[in-house]
Every structure is written in C-alpha cells, then in structure tokens.
Symmetry: C4
Subunit: 278 residues, 4 copies
C-alpha cells in the first residue's frame, strides 16, 4: 500500500511538473519545452531553404532526431503523468503533439513523408498554453467579452460577405470569361474574395471595361464594409470598458513571476516587489 | 360553396408551407429548398471547372435537369399558392426564381446560353429570406439602426471618393499617358479606385517619378480616409448601444426553434428549454 | 440715373440666377450647368478611349466646341454678374473655370495641347458647390467638427508615417539595391508608401530574405497603425455626437426642396409637406 | 579661477544654444540644423537616382563634403558643450549622428562604402526632437495615453498574428510547394504576412484550388482581425477623452513661439498674441 502511495506521489509530482506551472520545476519544464519548440521551428524553417539544407543536411538530420526523441519522451511522460491518458491523447494538444512527433519516424519507412515534419509548426499553438496568454487577456478582460459579444454579428457579416463573393464572382465569370483568367466559378469567387478584402494580388484582374466597372464596385464595397466589423468591435469594447473599467494586464513581477496585475499597479500585489514597466 | 372553401383551405395550407416558416411542414420545405439551392450552386461551380466537367458532363447534365424541374415545380407552386400571383411574379425574388430556371430550357433552343445557368447563384440571396437573417439582426437591432443612421453620411463620403477618383484618374492619364498602361481616362479612374481602396492589383502602376509621387498621395489619401466611414459606424453604433442596450441575437432554442433571444438568455423565453451557447 | 439703377437691377437679377440657388431660375441654371459638366466629363472620357474616338472623332469635336462655347459664355456671364470681377477671376472656382475652357482654344494654335481638355474634370469640384454638399454635411454637423478636431493629430500622424517611409525606404535601398528594382531612394520610398498603406502593387517587391524580413515589419506596421487615425476619428466623433446629438441630414423636401432636416423629421419644417425616406 | 568660471560660462552658453530651444539663438541653431538635415536627405535621394547623379556627380560630391564637415563640427560641438560627453556619444541620437557622419570619411579609405551615406536618413528622427513632437502630442495628450493603455493588448494581438502567419505559412508550403513559388517556409510565412496584412503584392500567389481556398481564409482572417487593434485604440481613446477632455494641440504662437495651447485657444496664454488657425 505504501508502495502505491509512493508511486502515486511520484506520479503526482510528475503531473505537477509537466501540466502545472505553479512550482519552480514546473516553470523550468515549460520554459525548456518552449525553447525546444522554438528551436525545432527554426530548424524546420532552415531545412526548407534548399541552399542552406544542401550545406548542413546531415547536421540538420541529427538535430531533427534529437528533437524528435525529446518530443517522444515528453509525449510518453505526459501519458504516464496523467490519470486518464485517453483524455490527453485525444485532446487538441495531444493530437498536435503526436502529429509533430511521428513524421520523422515515418520518414524512415516511407520516402517523401519527411516534409510533414513541418507540421511541427502546429506545436507553436502550445505557446498560448505555456505563456497562459489565454489567462493574461483572459475571462476577466473586457476585450475578450467585447469579442464574444461581437461574435454573432461578425459571423452574420462574414456570411453575408461570402454570399456577395459567390454572387459577384459568378457574375464576373460570365462577364470576363476564361480568356481573361476567370476560368471557373470557384476561381472567380477566389478573385472576388481577393478584391473584397483589398488584398489584390493581381494574378487575376479584369480586362474588359464592364469587368473593370463591376470590379470597381466590388472594391468600393470591400473598402466600405470593413467599417462594419471595426465599428462593432469598437462599440462593444467601449461598452465593456465602461461597464468594467478594471483591466488586468500582462506584466510580470520580476520577483515572484505573478501576473494579472492592474494596469496602474506599481507594486506586485502578491510579494510587494516593484513592477518595472518598459 | 363547400368545395370552394375546401379549395381555399387547400390553397391556404400550401401558402403556409411555402411562404411561412411557422409550422413544421413550412420549416421542412424551406430547409429542403435551401439544400437544393446550395447543391445547385455547387453543381454550377463544378461544371465551370473544365477538367471536372470533361469527366462528368453527362452526370452533371442529368442533375441539372433534375434541379431545373424541381425549381420549375416550386415556381409554379409559388404562383398557385398565392392569391395575387402578379405580386410574386414581379417581386424581386420572383424574378430571380424565374432567371434561375429558364436558362436550362433556353439551352435546348439556343447553343451557348448554357453558361447563364450560373445566374442561379442569385438564388443564394433567398438564404437571407429563408434564414430570416433580416429578422435575426432585424429592426430591433442596434447595428441596423446604426447603419441606417450612417447611410446618408457614408453616401456623401462615397460620392466624394468617386469625384476624387475621377479627378485624380484624369490627372494621372495626363501625367503617365498610354505608354504606361493609362490608355484612357476610364481606365485611369479604374486604376485610381484600385489604389484609393488599397486593393492595388499592380496590373497598371505608375512608371514616371511624377506619377509615382501623385500615386503616393492617392495611397495615403485612401489609407487615411478609410478612417471616416469606420469612425461614423463606430460612433453611431456606440450611440445606439447606449440608447437601447437590449440586443437580440441569432441563437435558436433547440426545442421550439424560437429565435430572437436576449444576449444573456439562458432559457428559451417561449418554452423554458435551456439554450446552449457554443 | 434710372438707367444705371435698371442696369444694376438687371445685373442683380443675373447675379441671383448665376450665383444663388434660392429662386426657381437660380436652381434651374445650376441644374443645367451641372448636367453640362457631367456631359463634358463623359465626353472627355469617351474621347480618351482610342477605339471609340477613332469612330466618332468629328462628332466629338463638334460637341467639344459646343460645350467650350457654353462654358465661355458662362464664364463671361459670371464676370459680368459680379460687382468685383477680380474676386471671381482669381477665386478657386474662377481659375478652374478658366482652365477648363481655354485648352480647346489653345488646341487650334498649338498641336498636342488638346489632351489638356481633360483638365475639365476639375470642374467636377463645382458639384460640391452646386449640390451645396458643404452645407448638407456642413458646420452644424458633428462629423465635420470631429474631423476638424482630429486634424492636428492626423497631420502629426501622417508626418510620422512619411518619416518612417523615408527611413525604411532608404534602408531597403541599401538592403535590396538596384538589381531588385529598388534603383533609387525616391523609388524605395515610393515602394515603402505602397507597402505601408497596404496597397501592394507588386511592381517592386523584395527578393532577398533580409529585404523580405524588413518588408514584413513594414507591412505589420502599416497594418497596425491604420488603427490610429481610425481610433482618433471614432473617438472624436463619438464625443461630438454626445455633445450635440442633433444631426441634420441630406434629405430634400419634395415640395419646397428645403434641406437641413432633422434625422427623424417626417414633415418638412418649412412647408409641412411629408418627407419621404427611401 | 575666474578663467574656469568664464570657461564654464562659455560652455554653458554653448550648451544652451545646442541642446536647448528656449533662447532665440537655440531656436535658430535648431532650425539651421533641421534645414541642413533636410538638404542632406534631398541630396542623398538625388544622388541615388543614377541619371541625375551622372550629370552632377562632382557637384554632389562637393555638397556632400560641405554637409559632412558641418555635421562633423556639430558633432564635436555637442561633445564639447556637454559635461559628460559619454552620455551624448552613447545615446541614441549620438550614435545616429556618428553613423551619418563617418560613411563619407570611410569612402576615401574603402571603395564601395559610399552608399552608406544613405544612413544619414536616420538623422530625420532628430526632427522629432527638434520639433519637440513628443512634447506637442506629449504626456498630457489623451492619444498617447490611449496608445500606452492599448500597448499590451496590441502586442499580444501582433504576437498571435505572427503565430498564425507561421502556422498557415507552413501549411501553404506543404500545400503549394516550391513549384508555385512557395520554395521555403520563411518565404511562405512572408507570403502569409503579405496576405494577412492585405498588402498582396502578387509576387507569390497560390495556384492550386486547395491553396486558393486556404488563401481565401487567410484573407478573410486578415480583413476581419484589423477590427481588433482599431477597436482597442478607438475604445481606449474614447475613454481617455472622457476622463480628460482637455487637449493640447500643436499650434504655435507667432509672437513668442509658445506651443501647448488648448484646442479652442484664440490667444496665446503666455504673451496674449492672437493665435492664427489655418
């Protein structure tokens, strides 16, 4: 029985280190993982640049394996440290962790799957978790409330934009036709989104006077309707600030690493240490 | 007389199903029509992609005919079900329904008119009616009020933008001339709208130093004046929210399909069922 | 003496018709001039399209002469009708009126000056005067007050943007160099404005990794700083609406043509006629 | 001892002239330096235009030397006039001043370093100091407070945008591949930033249907999320204006050059002279 309790205790401690960030060990673990993730992203980026990869291919391969093994160990530690492993394995981050580990193993068996290591970029999303960004600008924050209040209206807005893009894209397909690059309706709709959002690549652009006239309308439309989501967020956020003028910010206490300080706080509300604002 | 009353009753019921969405049958009818419209749009899109059409041309033709016949039946049902058929036939949606049905019939008589089936995309506008989006974000909503209050100011603004585009477009035609792609004033005005709205295709772009200088002014102008409509909508909407802080949203009651709930409602105000927010 | 008084009276009436819009004759005169200006703009546009001009060159020439003569008569009438002709001749609109009349006469003497008739587009600015747009959204309006209040801040902002464009443009000239299209500093500054304003023609675009990195910073900067003028106008306008919630709008009374009605007015405050809002 | 005091006095006066702008001499000095900086920028720009430089190369070289010597003298005067020269030499402006002076001297020793004179553009930043723009729109101003209050939130926002750009850039690299211009992950990330910020050069653009679909999502995302920073600045600034409705502006008294006047001030609060607003 003592053995089990000891085992549980050991498991509990591992859980603390891996999943929580309240202890010094937990923070160090998170920081190391964060650095390795960033290093792995840089590595994947450098590998994708052919003239750099040509020079250092073998070095990159070794580093890839080191990172893959570290990620594998981390993956299994996460499974061991949790009571219900399934909860982790099938969670959003669990799947991303798996996806960023297996491509390297697959590359031994199948040629050509190596490029999939780039999926590791998805692990960047973990930064949100490690930095607890969600908590920084979190529930207590007026901005998130404003964005939630705007969600329904912005969805309807984007839906309307999509319908406009489909209709005007189809009209442009009939007007311009395949000879000017509008060779299918999906491509015309793509052009219409490129124009409505004011991106304007210029890979497809209208050539006929009528097409250019319709395009002008699409542009002015796109230029004007940006005012709608912006207005919604502005107004909702103004409203939220008025309701709840207390805003927590993202500064850290250099002493105890406590965050969630008030915007005007000069001393850490936890340890009394001075807060430095750059 | 009884016969007439029965007939009327039958007509009345058909009207309920086709034009209203209060009964279960009416909702089902709307949903089926919505799905067929979406399917017909996807079909038109796939047909327009030549390499897909080459493979499945005959299948697409059969599906086209099925959808056309369904739309034809729906069109005649709508005429029968209403007391004053003219009101429907010459209404906005009546004309769109006709336009999205006849091209397929015309394609038997005249070669080359087949492309007009793409006009069917206009039927997407019916989605606004079926989903009653207008009601969801409707009269009671602050956003619509804000947009209506902004309308006159934004029209004057767009009118001023158009005049600026014509004047600066003409100036650029004189400065750059046909040898740099500004080969007519309408084309220069088109370029000016492309630039003012910050779309910037790059199909026409200034080459002379003076032209690039004027273009820079146009860009900064376009970049700056977007602040005007955005500011108008933001301010008007902030004003509307303050006046009438009650906002109805687009969520449905999963039990009775009632919409128009308050933003913070947790239970349906009609049947008392719990409302789920994702 | 009576003669002089009669002459004065005649001059006064002419002034009423040409410079004011309070009488029926004055309104008719303004409307006719507006139509002729619009017709002359369309004419200049059509002339600039070579394949249309090739067909109708002689017709266009006759119409040009008619419009030029009408404009000449109008110009002299304006000089006669005013007590201090110099005040008109050297005014903003006086110079524009002259500039839009003489190019046609010059084209007899000098070959190649014909293109300058396009300067006539400047007469479009008179629309603002004829439609009294300045009065519609005029002094009494919160928007104009908000824009005036924002002017100083937006000027400082644009000045800062220009300095950033010069510095980053110079840096890009050093980084990319003439071989990638950045062949002079002014051209690099032009590129920087194209990028900062998110227009992005793509006529010049960075090729080196370092150049693309700096360009990314420029883009994010340009994308972010648009928030500043927009925020200024939004906030100032919100402020103005709160101070003075009375807004006059641009609707006309269909009976007496009175404008400057309140936003919610249903009847003309002058003649009591119903106001129709579309 | 008297000598030292005299020396100190002389040094003090020099300091007043060079570093302060309170005396007439100080203002004149700042103005002359400002004009020379602007002249040197124009000179560097003209030199970079090859066809102008070919003509006037020797003239430009002489002017370059004059400006360089003036800048050198100014640099040493600044060192002499200050008590702790190190404070100036290693300050931000001290380093810029050095960087804008030495390239011309280096160009004698090393061929090819001449282009570095363009670094002189950095001296434009001194304009902010000379015009005391920081003071004009300075601490007392609501806008700066609003931007400071928004800083943390906008940083988190830009950080999130960067992560999205890296992830979607990587996905596009896998989808489109080197054959469509996405030849490395950094380049794909660059493309993603170009698209997210709605710049859209079109130097790289998706070719595959799936790539165009993902690109459409990136565009709509970029088009929509601009609402977030804009909303933040709008709301914070609205808040600041409400708290502190007193706004100082950038107008000068033409008599005593005093700035920091209230927005509605008609007379200088220092000397009573009329303030002219254009």
């Amino acid at each position: 029985m003592k053995d089990t309790s000891k085992n549980k205790n050991w498991k509990h401690q591992l859980h603390e280190v891996i999943y929580e960030a309240d202890t010094r060990a937990g923070k160090t673990f998170d920081l190391i993982i964060l650095i390795i993730i960033l290093a792995s992203i840089v590595l994947v980026m450098l590998e994708s640049v052919s003239y750099i990869n040509d020079k250092y291919a073998s070095l990159f391969n070794i580093l890839e394996w080191i990172i893959t093994i570290v990620f594998t160990i981390e993956y299994f530690l996460r499974i061991i440290a949790i009571n219900k492993p399934r909860k982790y394995i099938f969670s959003f981050y669990g799947i991303i962790d798996l996806l960023s580990t297996i491509p390297k193993y697959l590359s031994i068996l199948f040629v050509g799957t190596h490029a999939l290591v780039a999926l590791r970029a998805l692990r960047l999303l973990r930064i949100f978790r490690i930095l607890k960004l969600a908590r920084f600008i979190g529930e207590s924050n007026s901005l998130v409330k404003a964005l939630k209040a705007s969600r329904a209206k912005i969805s309807v807005f984007l839906f309307a934009v999509l319908i406009v893009a489909i209709i005007l894209g189809t009209v442009m397909y009939l007007v311009e036709g395949p000879e000017h690059g509008f060779n299918s309706i999906p491509r015309s709709v793509y052009w219409c989104i490129v124009t409505l959002t004011t991106v304007g690549y210029g890979d497809i652009s209208p050539e006929t006077p009528l097409g250019q006239f319709i395009a002008s309308i699409v542009m002015v439309l796109g230029y004007g309707i940006i005012a709608v989501p912006t207005g919604i967020v502005s107004a909702e956020y103004t409203q939220q600030i008025k309701k709840n003028p207390i805003n927590l910010n993202t500064q850290h206490c250099s002493n105890c690493l406590e965050s969630n300080h008030l915007d005007n706080a000069k001393f850490c509300h936890k340890c009394g240490h001075t807060l430095f604002n750059d």
